[in-house]
Amino acid sequence: MDALILSRIQFGANISFHILFPTITIALGWVLLYFKLRFNATGEERWMAAYRFWVKVFALSFAMGVVSGITMSFQFGTNWPGFMETVGNIAGPLLAYEVLTAFFLEAVFLGIMLFGFSRVPGWLHTLSTFLVAFGTTMSAFWILVLNSWMHTPAGFEMREGVAHATDWLAIVFNPSMPYRLVHMLLASGLTVAFLIAGLSAFRWLIGDRGSEVRLTLRTGVVMAALLIPVQIFAGDLHGLNTLEHQPQKVAAMEGNWETDDNVPLLLFALPDHEARENRFELGIPSGASIILMHDPDGVVPGLNDFLAEDGTVLHPPVAPVFWSFRVMVGTGVLMLLLSWGCAYLLWRRRNEGLPRPLLFALAGMSFSGWVATLAGWYTTEIGRQPWLVHGVLKTADAVAAVPAPMVMTTLVAYLLVYAVLIVAYIGVLLYLARKAVQGGREVPAPPRSGAAQVDVLPAE
């Protein structure tokens, strides 16, 4: 493998690992503020108990997000110097504003939010919680401005191969920014809703039926049920926006090779990049035309329109985009069914809680938000290829001339660290849940069989 593909895998691995944690902290910050405000208003201990449990999850996720985010700010230079050399005049200020208006705010007030409850007046603790939530959201805003600009660049001109800003408002509010930002914020909300509902269901299943668990289970389920239809609507709008600005990406998402009317919505297919056709197609007639054009006779762009005269491929690789998109949509449909089912039953059977199969389903879906978010990001980012900045800079032209073995070495090191950390992270979340069940006491060491040390979950 050459340095280009290794650098892409490395950056992809880092940003995939990174996004898991901001996806949690962005929305969890606001949920914590909600818990704190409810506690302030009612004085009920259960709200503060919920706050104290989930602030630990927040602190852990935040640390994971910070350290993996720093990695990326360095990798722009170590692996992708061409990016900043070409579009640094635009990317630079956006990143600088993220650091200045978001990173310091969240990092400084996080200390007070975590450890200041008994040291500062109540209002300052509430304010700190707000500022941390606000900071994480500002961070998402700036980074999505930059990411959107890479998809739909605006407000600049090229001078001697370098982009120069001409209109900052056009740069910030570039055509895809509002859609992408809303789509991502909602994704964060859904990830957190399912995490809260899932971990609460897990606690319920292992015997914790206290008022705090009832409260968080209800909060998670209701939040999910409210957000998922909004997300489906926002996702549809985002798709239409992509169709307007990056039709080749939509063509890859639909697996559509020829521009045509009455294009089917493919449920299954194996796109073949070499033969430039699909194998084993299974589709709903005219489905894609209806979804994208709101008309069965609507013309949907095809991938064959994006071949240069000399045969150079100017559209993204089809199979990964096609499949990522289906994973995202499939997860979304599952989320819709489960959250509405649970919300309905919680409303009907007020005090009995949920039936066990649904609790198991919720616990199993605890990290479903991660799956959908990653699949969505793969769809849009692989869908941007071969461009790094759409129509301005190709990915291959931005990569550093670092020897491939060196990139390989660091890639393996990062992957090992990330694998250990993700296992530790999920393990600690489950441990915190079990510990909470036992009233905050240290969970006794599990029985050992031979030399192997196995975690035994009481519910299993």
Binding site: L60, I70, T71, S73, N89, A96, L421, V443
Partner: protein
């Protein structure tokens, strides 16, 4: 408005070089003591480890953010230099990043994972801090040597790696003197005394090596009248070292009145050393290759960042001060309630 202070292609890069330098200095001092405490971890008992973490727990995250700002300013203000420097330092940067990852997550995991895992995360905290300190020192040495890899430059970089790590251990110990008492404070005084040797070694090595490597730097320091104007720098540094030694011999004092002296003196010493380096390398951002004027972004981009910085930086300094004052005094157990 951009021409307020003359040609914007001259004053803007200079302002941003200043801001970047300030961020690096603040980072080296603030995260320096966090990393130093990590480096000192194996020498402490289990109970002392908890107190050492408690003394930096509320701050480390914000301290680390100064590195993000520094590298961000390099990235946004001098994008060409960012690429040249970071590709040249590819491997030490990767080691530093993995170190920062281990150190940062260990803070959380050691407190939240099951007790039987705590010692593993303590080890991760130490190893992460050590990797970060050594690689930062290595990068400093290689930068001074003009970012070239020869046996001699790598040997020098290995020396600065050890010295910076000792320096971080030293400033970490002086922070512990402020934030702890009794047995741990006495231990911290001993650690500070030993670390001081590394600091002096590093200062001497860098001061001797940089003029020898670069005739330009030699010229800047040892011609008249520069040598007279610059004389206060080494003299004050020497005086600070003596003051440090006296303070460390008096500590711990019964009224705890001397506790701030070593940390404050350490900051002054680090600042002077940094000023000396900055003077040596100006106007280069990549030594002997690229000046900060050649590497700077377009003035209109720098200006839009500057506007934000002018408003936001005082606020950052203000609420950072607030956080330090909320958690002032001797470190106590960190609790969520």
């Amino acid at each position: 408005m951009m021409t307020l202070f003359g040609d914007p292609a001259v004053w803007l890069p200079l302002v941003f070089a200043g801001l970047m330098g300030l961020s690096i200095l603040i980072y080296v001092v603030l995260d320096g003591f966090d990393l130093g405490i990590g480096v000192l971890f194996p020498f402490a008992s289990e109970a002392e480890k908890d107190r050492m973490i408690a003394s930096i727990g509320p701050f480390w995250d914000a301290n680390e953010t100064w590195l993000v700002l520094a590298i961000g300013l390099l990235l946004v203000a001098f994008p060409v230099a960012h690429g040249v420097i970071l590709t040249a330092l590819y491997l030490p940067v990767a080691i530093m990043l993995i170190g920062l990852i281990l150190r940062g997550v260990a803070f959380e995991f050691r407190a939240k994972a099951p007790l039987r895992r705590k010692s593993s995360w303590n080890t991760a905290f130490f190893v992460g801090s050590l990797m970060t300190s050594l690689s930062q020192g290595f990068m400093l040495g290689l930068y001074i040597m003009g970012l070239s890899y020869t046996p001699a430059t790598v040997a020098f970089a290995a020396l600065t790696a050890l010295c910076l790590t000792a320096g971080y251990g030293f400033i970490g110990a002086t922070w512990l003197i402020v934030k702890t008492d009794e047995a741990l404070q006495r231990k911290a005084v001993r650690w500070a005394k030993r670390g001081l040797a590394g600091v002096i070694g590093g200062l001497v090595a860098v001061s001797a090596a940089s003029p020898l490597v670069s005739p330009r730097i030699f010229e800047k320091w040892f011609s008249v009248p520069e040598i007279l104007l610059l004389a206060p720098l080494p003299i004050v540094s020497g005086a600070l070292v003596i003051l440090l030694w006296i303070a460390l011999r008096h500590l711990p004092d019964p009224a705890d009145r001397w506790r701030h002296v070593p940390f404050a003196t350490a900051i002054a010493l680090f600042s002077l050393a940094f000023a000396g380096l900055a003077y040596s390398f100006y106007p280069y951002v990549v030594p002997e290759r690229l000046t900060l004027y050649e590497a700077a972004s377009a003035p209109e981009s720098l200006f839009i960042i500057l506007i934000g910085t002018v408003f936001v930086l005082p606020a950052i300094l203000g609420y950072t001060a607030l956080a330090y004052s909320v958690f002032r005094g001797k470190a106590s157990e960190l609790r969520y309630d």
